[in-house]
């Protein structure tokens, strides 16, 4: 059996132990700290499972919500990637463009998303596009910053080498700056993918209308003090975040894993 495929106890035991500890604390709070009258505040794990996941109707309602949220997050992330990449490339080409645009990217990042969501609904309505717009606002900044940092990270010696060989701007971007940027681009993508999911949930939560996503479900369950389903929805939404984070980690490893990282030295 190859070394990679072998079950490595040291990799599996620590996270499983932490998970067991969390479940233990959860049960402890549900059954020991909370008296039966107040147990609705934190339902024990198996009840969350049976109501939120094992009940077919509830589960399919949540999966439909998850699908709607994923769709919004996906298009939001895609738009943020295209826009962020374009802006970063433009900024990398001239310092004055960077000076002109970067402060506003920071402003965009500093906007409290909770304050802007009602305004976006007010201006653009509560349909699909405004939700995507919220995702773009929240996911754009890490893509711009990481891509720009990556594009500018290429070694000066390599720039000099290309200058010596009269390389034009496009070739320089293609052969040097883009590949040099990849590790940082993927780091940005991992952050932005998670943020886009949060954007999709927050938008849906505050809009409270239109296609029902996880945000509206969270709001509905909270209003009904439906603890089991609320916790199930929280688990599902964080699961979606973890899934996209893991996906981009895997993709980064596939694309740059072979060459990125520390070298052996002298």
């Amino acid at each position: 059996m190859s070394k990679k495929a072998r079950f490595d106890v040291r990799l599996v035991v620590p996270p499983v132990a932490t998970g067991a500890l969390i479940l233990g604390i959860w049960y402890f709070v549900s059954y020991v700290i909370l008296d039966p009258k107040r147990r609705f505040l934190l339902r024990p794990p198996h009840e969350v499972w049976s109501v939120g996941f094992a009940n077919g109707d509830n589960f399919s309602e949540m999966m439909e919500g998850l699908l709607a949220t994923s769709k919004t997050a996906f298009w939001g992330l895609l738009t943020a990637i295209l826009l962020g990449f374009l802006l970063a490339v433009i900024m990398s080409q001239a310092k004055f463009v960077e000076r002109a645009i970067f402060p506003y990217a920071v402003v965009l990042q500093a906007i409290p998303i909770l304050a802007i969501v009602p305004l976006i609904g007010f201006w653009f309505g509560y349909g699909f596009m405004p939700r995507v717009f919220i995702c773009v606002i929240i996911a754009l900044f890490p893509i711009i910053v990481n891509t720009l940092f990556g594009l500018l990270s290429a070694e000066q010696g390599l720039h000099d080498l290309l200058t010596l060989h009269n390389t034009n701007r496009v070739t320089r971007l293609r052969k040097l700056m883009f590949p040099a940027a990849l590790p940082a681009v993927f780091a940005g993508l991992r952050i932005s993918a998670g943020l886009s999911v949060i954007g999709a949930i927050v938008g849906d939560f505050y809009f409270g209308q239109g296609e029902v996503g996880i945000g509206q479900l969270l709001k509905r369950y909270a209003a009904r003090l439906d603890g089991e389903q609320l916790l199930a929805a929280v688990i599902v939404s964080s699961g979606l975040g973890v899934l996209v984070f893991t996906f981009f980690g895997w993709l980064a490893n596939r694309v740059v894993g072979k060459w990125a990282g520390e070298s052996r030295g002298a």
Partner: protein, 243 residues
């Protein structure tokens, strides 16, 4: 007429730092000239001016810029390219077709002793191997002028001696015009036909020494009394240049 000629080169940076003052000399094909000098004396600046990466404040450089091979202080390899693809880079930039590019790369990789490592990424190479890949990349263009900007400063002494011997072999085979920058006097004597000593900033050429050994050279010349004697004289001149 020398292949590379510096005429009265002076350089002052925008922050007022005077890097070079009135430097004039030439390097012809088949000549290997080394400049030794204290840190920060403007040696690298001189190479950058020769290559057109910097413009001198005064004076002129006469050289065909299309025929310059530049070996940097660091290996400057692209980490995302394998050794072979790194070595092919310059030919690729000059639009050389794939078959020819591969032929040139194989030849150069063979010449620097990196055969068998074609498909390795730089991160899995040692410092000395990276420098060899960098040399091979420059060799693919068969440049008539080779500029070496202190290329072996970061490798250990044993690797450095081996790389010196390989550089010598390349020079003996290609007979380019070589201009080499270093801190190491023995490296300078071992490789060169002529050694210049540069003063502390602003850099001026304060002494020149002809090396009395012909080519091909064997590593044994390092133990020749004349080698030690010349190294002593250069060291003496260098101490004067520091003050």
């Amino acid at each position: 007429m020398a292949t590379l000629t510096f005429s009265n080169i002076s350089m002052r940076f925008p922050d007022g730092t005077e890097a070079l003052s009135d430097v004039s000399f030439g390097v012809s094909r088949g000549e290997f000239v080394t400049i030794v000098g204290p840190s920060g004396c403007g040696k690298s600046t001189l190479l950058k001016i020769a290559a057109g990466l910097l413009d001198a404040t005064a004076g002129s450089v006469d050289v065909d810029r299309n025929g310059i091979g530049y070996v940097f202080q660091d290996a400057t390899l692209m980490p995302w390219r394998t050794v072979r693809r790194n070595v092919e880079l310059l030919a690729e930039l000059h639009g050389v077709d794939k078959d020819e590019r591969q032929r040139l790369a194989s030849e150069a990789i063979d010449l620097v002793g990196l055969s068998g490592f074609e498909n390795h990424y730089p991160k899995s190479l040692s410092g000395g191997m990276k420098m060899r890949a960098s040399l091979a990349r420059t060799l693919t263009m068969k440049p008539p002028v080779f500029l070496f900007d202190e290329p072996f400063g970061a490798v250990d002494e044993i690797t450095r001696e081996r790389l010196n011997e390989e550089t010598l072999r390349l020079f003996e085979a290609e007979k380019f015009a070589g201009l080499f920058i270093t801190h190491s006097i023995s490296e300078a004597v071992f490789l060169s036909t002529k050694v210049y000593v540069m003063s502390a900033r602003p850099g001026r050429l304060v002494a020149s020494f002809d090396v009395p050994f012909g080519y091909p050279r064997s590593p044994e010349i390092r133990f020749d009394p004349r080698f030690a004697e010349l190294s002593g004289e250069i060291s003496h001149a260098l101490r004067g240049a520091h003050s």
